[in-house]
């Protein structure tokens, strides 16, 4: 039976310790041992029974998912998100600069006597401002 205990410990070794992990590990160990005893009662050698139980166990990843183990993907996902907010910020600054420039040009070219381009400028500035704070949040 030591082999089963060792095997279960090996399966769970990457999972960070928690009460939940302990309970589920105990439960799996109990049930695997029960399976081994049951197989032995039906005439299997201990060695065979243990191997069969281990092979039929399946993949531990399914349980890892349920225990909410953070895979390394999580970090890279965050990095990507941070990268994206940076690009969004850059885009918003360039975009709003172009719009303001266009407004300025139209203003100066067609009606140089009244300065109205500041109004759309204020409206457009919300865009980079929002992106700036989103970027700050992720920084």
């Amino acid at each position: 039976m030591r082999k089963i205990t060792n095997h279960v410990e090996e399966l769970f070794k990457d999972i960070p310790d928690s009460e939940e992990k302990q309970t589920i590990q105990q439960e799996i160990l109990q049930n695997l041992e029960e399976k081994v005893y049951d197989l032995m009662e039906h005439g299997k050698e201990e060695e065979d029974a243990i191997n069969k139980a281990i092979v039929e166990f399946g993949h531990i990843d399914e349980i890892k998912n349920e225990l909410g183990v953070r895979t390394p993907d999580e970090n890279s996902w965050q990095k990507k998100k941070k990268e994206k907010t940076k690009i969004d910020l850059g885009f918003s600054i360039c975009g709003s600069a172009l719009i303001i420039g266009l407004m300025l040009f139209i203003n100066m070219y067609y009606s140089p006597d009244t300065i109205w381009f500041v109004y759309p400028t204020f409206a457009v500035l919300w865009w980079p401002l929002a992106m700036f704070y989103r970027w700050l949040k992720w920084k």
Partner: protein, 109 residues
């Protein structure tokens, strides 16, 4: 042994049904599934415990410690009222799904 995604998609009601009939512990459930399907479908332990976790998180089942076997306590599961409602709904849904799929799968040569 069938490796159907359709079965995999319905493991929750399958396991709920077994717990609905009797309070069960892990190994008993996997044995029952093999037995009732005449070994045409076997559940992997890893899958089974993942489903237990999911069902318990959704409050569809609850667990308690029962009799001792070979020096360790068995962890039993019982179905909750919510679980029974969920099971009923799943059964109804399956019936409807089956009727729809049958429309296209039956009567072929």
């Amino acid at each position: 042994m069938i490796k159907s995604d359709i079965i995999r998609g319905h493991l929750e009601p399958i396991i709920l049904r077994l717990i609905y009939e009797n309070d069960q512990y892990g190994y008993e459930i996997s044995k029952q599934i093999s037995l009732r399907t005449d070994n045409r479908f076997q559940i992997k332990e890893a899958t089974l415990y993942a489903v237990f976790q999911r069902l318990e998180k959704k409050d569809l089942i609850e667990s308690y410690y029962g009799s001792v076997s070979h020096g360790r306590k068995r962890k039993y599961y019982r179905i909750t009222t919510l679980g029974k409602a969920y099971l009923k709904e799943s059964a109804r849904e399956w019936q409807e799904t089956k009727e729809i799929i049958d429309l296209f799968m039956e009567g072929l040569e």
